[in-house]
């Protein structure tokens, strides 16, 4: 189990005083201090890690966030920011001596501007609510993580969330134009705005994906895009992972970039079919879902080109959706994948490595071997266009040894991803889960440089501490 830092005794001893101080700032009803109610915040989307916090505060304004941070900073209290709590890397895991700042009450859409194609929202607005607010005019917010119904834009900023459609539309970092942040000292800073190129160092670029290490985000200005006229999918089944992998390379190499290109291996196909009855090919070793966008005629043309490419790889079956309904049926199984695996195995770890796409067959082959070595089943879902692999490792949470084995298996997969030229995480973030694997990907100098940036924003390391970086004393910067 991952080691956590010792709680600060002097903070624990002042618990009542700290809770009273938070109530003075945010009001009685915005602060949670009772042990029973704190249990609701002890974990996030990564339930193998649990720790109730000292207190939870639910501010409603940026100014309240600033006052809370000033208070925590002055009192040396650690802070854990939290959105919807859907993190798949334990990014919102509390510490015993930390105050959780929950942004869920900051859930207002502040402005929408179709002429300039931007929307400004508070950090607690859900991902899907942004698209919901602009869909009537035919617009959408592009990044679409699987948790988009629940996850909040503030958390998307923290983790630089992606989704199935980021091959075409990019990840969060590519779709954010402005942020309002609060520093650990409680200063409110506006970065960027409703324009494309911001001035000075790329503050947006370093903040997005910083996992709550640098500041707390309270407002976000995103690009909204006009949706394509329509979209349609096709499904192709193959005799092996190798052949499906070669088909992916041929598609990308042909100059056609589909809007989504999803790969599922045999265990994933079977699990999803049993759950969703989507008509997936049970005889296949691997399956691709390929989606294109445009008018009906454009969809026909692109799907025709893709079909011609895929035919070269002797697919076991090939189904081109003729209508939006047929397209939805093709997606139905994939979109229910997590529920489907959950039905086979109530407990599973969803890993999130990235590999060069050319390495797919070799990596899947090795994961299959490891699955046999560890005696744990694994199903693989893969954003094939961008190399983002999600192995779902099934285990039994009632058996501590099974969890430990699953965690070790997961770590070995991520090490393999790095060894073949990839990385530890493509969209879930490092969080607590992969913190101690960071030296696998980064040298001591690389990590030290990142840690110095952390110190530049948060000299005392009070913001979401014990995540992302292996535990070590904070670097001290030369006075600047």
């Amino acid at each position: 189990m991952t080691v956590q830092p010792e709680p600060k005794e002097e903070v624990l001893a002042r618990r009542k005083e700290i809770i009273a101080g938070l109530k003075d700032i945010a009001g009685e009803r915005a602060v949670i201090g009772e042990p029973l109610r704190l249990r609701a915040y002890e974990t996030d989307g990564t339930p193998s890690y649990r720790q109730p916090p000292l207190a939870v505060v639910l501010p409603e304004t940026t100014e309240e966030v600033a006052a809370i941070l000033r208070f925590c900073h002055a009192n040396g209290v650690r802070v854990v920011p939290r959105g919807a709590g859907t993190s798949l890397s334990g990014g919102a895991l509390p510490l015993a001596d930390a105050v959780v700042i929950g942004l869920m009450r900051m859930n207002r859409i502040l402005s929408i501007d179709y002429a300039d194609r931007v929307a400004t929202v508070q950090a607690g607005v859900t991902n899907l609510a942004i698209t919901g607010a602009v869909a009537e005019e035919g617009f959408f917010y592009a990044p679409d993580p699987s948790s988009q119904l629940a996850c909040m834009i503030g958390g998307n900023i923290a983790m630089n969330s992606g989704g199935a459609h980021c091959l075409k539309y990019g990840v969060t970092a590519n779709n954010v134009l402005g942020l309002k942040i609060v520093t650990i000292e409680g200063e409110i800073v506006t970065l960027g705005g409703a324009y494309l190129d911001a001035a000075g160092y790329d503050w947006l670029g370093i903040l997005v994906g910083s996992e709550g290490q640098l500041a707390i985000v309270t407002e976000v200005t995103v690009r909204i895009l006009r949706a394509a006229e329509g979209a349609r999918a096709m499904l192709a089944a193959f005799v092996s992972n190798e052949v499906a992998g070669a088909a992916v390379a041929a598609i990308i190499g042909s100059g056609v970039i589909p809007v989504a290109l999803e790969f599922m291996d045999k265990p994933a196909i079977h699990a999803c079919e049993a759950f969703a009855h989507a008509g997936y090919p049970l005889d296949a070793e691997a399956m691709l879902i390929v989606e294109v966008e445009g008018s009906e005629a454009e969809q026909d043309e692109l799907l025709g080109r893709l079909e011609a490419i895929i035919r070269r790889f002797d697919p076991l079956s090939l189904k081109v959706a003729a209508t939006a309904e047929e397209s939805a049926a093709i997606w139905k199984g994939r979109k229910g994948a997590f529920g489907a695996i959950g039905r086979i195995s109530p407990d599973y770890l969803c890993m999130d490595g990235v590999i060069p796409t050319s390495q797919l067959p070799a990596v899947l082959g090795r994961i299959g071997e490891m699955s046999r070595e560890y005696g744990l089943a694994v199903a693989n879902i893969f954003h094939a266009g961008d190399g983002n692999l999600h192995p779902l490792i099934m285990f039994d949470a009632n058996d501590a040894a099974s969890l430990a084995k699953a965690e070790e298996f997961g770590a070995e997969i991520l090490k393999l991803c790095v060894a073949v030229g990839g990385c530890l995480t493509g969209e879930h973030g490092v969080g607590i889960e992969k913190r101690d694997l960071m030296p696998v990907q980064f040298s001591a100098s690389d990590l030290d440089q990142q840690r110095r940036i952390k110190s530049a924003f948060d000299p005392d390391w009070l913001l979401n501490p014990s995540k992302v970086f292996p535990l070590a004393p904070p670097p001290v910067l030369k006075a600047a």
Binding site: G162, A173, Y195, I206, I252, G387, C423, S445, Q449, Q450
Partner: protein, 402 residues
């Protein structure tokens, strides 16, 4: 300044920086040196160039990635990509003419200045496509960030900080970019006889359409006259580009033209002529900046651009709009008074500005970027210190004293 030292490998860069730290002597960092006329001049006796770190180290077309050493000339990279039907997504400009230089830009220089062309409106900026970088920081330590895969959220994204930091944080030695297939076909709709407000509205309609417009510029009559492919328009013209498969370009241009008729009668410009127009827009040719002019780039909310250029009418300034109105190129006599008027108008419009080109004498005494707020100024100094604690790398390039 004497000829800069130009090592052939990372070890040479490390040695040069280590020596500079030991001597406490700052270094002026460059690639081919073409962007020296941009931003503030660096006061340094010694120079360090990446121009001998050259060559493509990885190109995997089916994985949409290319890696090259920082001094690789951009045209070399563009040619290698073109062989496989690919291109640089952000369409970086060739500012050779504007900056009065002949040496091609290097990959490192283009990323370090985060300059993007017309496709930025649809495809993102240079910084959006930097997947990984190797660099040497101001202590002479080699650091890596990112990698060679398209998706990566492992740790803090230092690549973003290095992109657009003009060599003030670290010297990039190798860079990996995401690339994409170049479009099969392209066409431009030119909507004539529009004033700036009508022009930006036409561009907003284009960009708000489902047809994937990848270039959106507005040229006032004087600027349009310098693009022969547009013919004699005589008045302001809005330009919307579509890039796609051949059949899609025909279809989309037709549909978009129908939607734009409420602004004017769009003329279709195809293939090579369309490409020539956007090369000119990319490289700021329509600006017609004279030798005595300074040049500014203003990033602004598109709907605020017409008001901004209206404010310029009282002065001797030429301008045109890219990015749907979100990028305002301005040329005016290189005087402090022009700078004050232009930056005041940009700020009043809610935008941010950059003095892209001016005489050294002018640049040394002016803010070339908007002065940051006190908190951001502190963060700027602290981030600089986190990379370059001794202030060796390009001091003063972006802000005096940083």
């Amino acid at each position: 300044m004497s000829e800069p030292e130009a090592p052939k490998d990372d070890a040479g860069i490390v040695a040069a920086i280590t020596a500079a730290v030991a001597a406490r002597e700052p270094l002026s960092i460059s690639g081919n040196g073409g962007k020296r006329a941009m931003l503030r001049p660096v006061q340094a006796a010694r120079g360090l160039s990446t121009r001998n770190l050259s060559g493509i180290t990885l190109h995997s077309p089916a994985e949409l990635v290319i890696s090259a050493r920082a001094g690789t000339p951009l045209p070399v990279i563009e040619a290698a990509l073109a062989k496989h039907g690919q291109h640089l997504i952000a369409e970086p400009p060739d500012l050779g003419r504007l900056l009065g230089i002949t040496a091609p830009a290097t990959l490192g220089g283009m990323v370090a200045s985060n300059l993007s062309g017309p496709r930025r409106i649809a495809g993102g900026a240079m910084r959006d496509h930097v997947l990984g970088a190797r660099a040497v920081n101001g202590e002479g330590t080699i650091i890596h960030s990112g990698g060679r895969v398209l998706k990566n959220v492992t740790g803090l994204d230092l690549c973003k900080l290095l992109a657009g930091s003009y060599g003030t944080l670290a010297v990039m030695t190798e860079i990996t970019l995401k690339v994409l297939p170049a479009p099969e076909s392209t066409a431009t709709l030119a909507v004539p006889r529009l004033d700036p407000a009508q022009g930006v509205a036409a561009l907003a309609a284009s960009l708000g359409s489902p047809y994937g417009v990848s270039g959106a510029a507005y040229l006032p009559a004087a600027a349009a006259a310098h693009i022969p492919e547009l013919g004699a328009v005589g008045e302001g013209v809005a330009l919307a580009r579509i890039e796609n498969f051949a059949s899609s370009v025909v279809y989309r241009a037709g549909r978009l033209a129908a939607e734009l008729t409420r602004f004017g009668q769009p003329r279709l410009v195809e293939d090579q002529e369309s490409r020539a127009i956007w090369r000119a827009v990319r490289d700021a040719v329509p600006l017609t900046a004279g030798e005595e002019d300074a040049v500014w780039r203003v990033s602004v909310r598109p709907s605020a651009a017409p008001g901004l250029v209206h404010a310029l009418a009282v002065m001797d300034a030429r301008w045109f709009l890219d990015w749907g109105g979100g990028l305002v190129w301005i040329a005016a006599p290189a005087k402090a008074s022009s700078h004050q008027a232009i930056t005041a108008a940009a700020t009043a419009a809610g935008g941010v500005w950059m003095l892209l080109r001016a005489s050294e004498a002018l640049r040394v005494g002016l803010d070339v970027l908007p002065p940051p707020s006190p908190v951001l100024a502190r963060l700027t100094r602290r981030v600089k210190s986190a990379f370059d604690p001794h202030g060796i790398l390009n001091p003063g390039r972006m802000y005096a004293g940083v």
